[in-house]
Symmetry: C2
Subunit: 117 residues, 2 copies
């Protein structure tokens, strides 16, 4: 059955046609990365069942893991209360980050509260 | 000791001076919301130990919970591998969402894989 794209009609894509997508591991709960989707990459993601982003730097579709094999199988997609951000829970096949770490947020700590030090 | 703001110098704020901030509960692991920070609101967040955003709609600083009481105590701030997104783990005092739900992502499911249905 073809995808009914009207389910996206209420989403707020920005002036550049993009919406931020937060990718979270369904298994570990770790936030893996943040990337951008447009209407078409969101459609492709749902049809494929894997994350497809829009690369702002390369200005092209980016099927995550197409070359590395580190694809992300989509478990759920939720929009936030004002429909301008997506939370996508995935089952990941390998590290999310091109640096080889599980999460793109594993590399730079800007601040730790004294509670955590 | 005054905050050394040079720790932000390598962060990539967008053309609008903003960087997306993903807010995650340190206790439940739930992603609570996504909002935007500029250099100054990030500085204020660290100095205060609570999240302070830049409201794009109101074009003003937004100390989360200043009126509702639902503040977010910052546990850690991490930047991603290309320094253009922040992951902020918080201990939240009350629901993150103005609708009263724990997370702003509790309200709209766009897609569920058959695995989850």
């Amino acid at each position: 059955m073809p995808l009914d794209k009207s389910i996206f009609d209420h989403l707020s894509f920005g002036a550049d046609g993009l919406i931020p997508a937060i990718i979270q591991s369904a298994d570990s709960g770790r936030v893996l990365m943040m990337a951008w989707m447009n209407h078409e990459s969101l459609s492709q993601s749902i049809e494929l069942g894997e994350t497809v982003f829009w690369s702002r730097s390369r200005q092209e579709f980016w099927h995550k893991g197409a070359t590395s094999g580190n694809t992300q199988q989509i478990i759920s997609i939720e929009a936030d209360c004002d429909s301008d951000a997506l939370l996508i829970r995935v089952r990941e096949n390998g590290p999310a980050c091109h640096t080889g770490t599980e999460s793109c947020f594993d590399v730079q700590t800007i601040y730790l509260s004294s509670e955590e030090e």
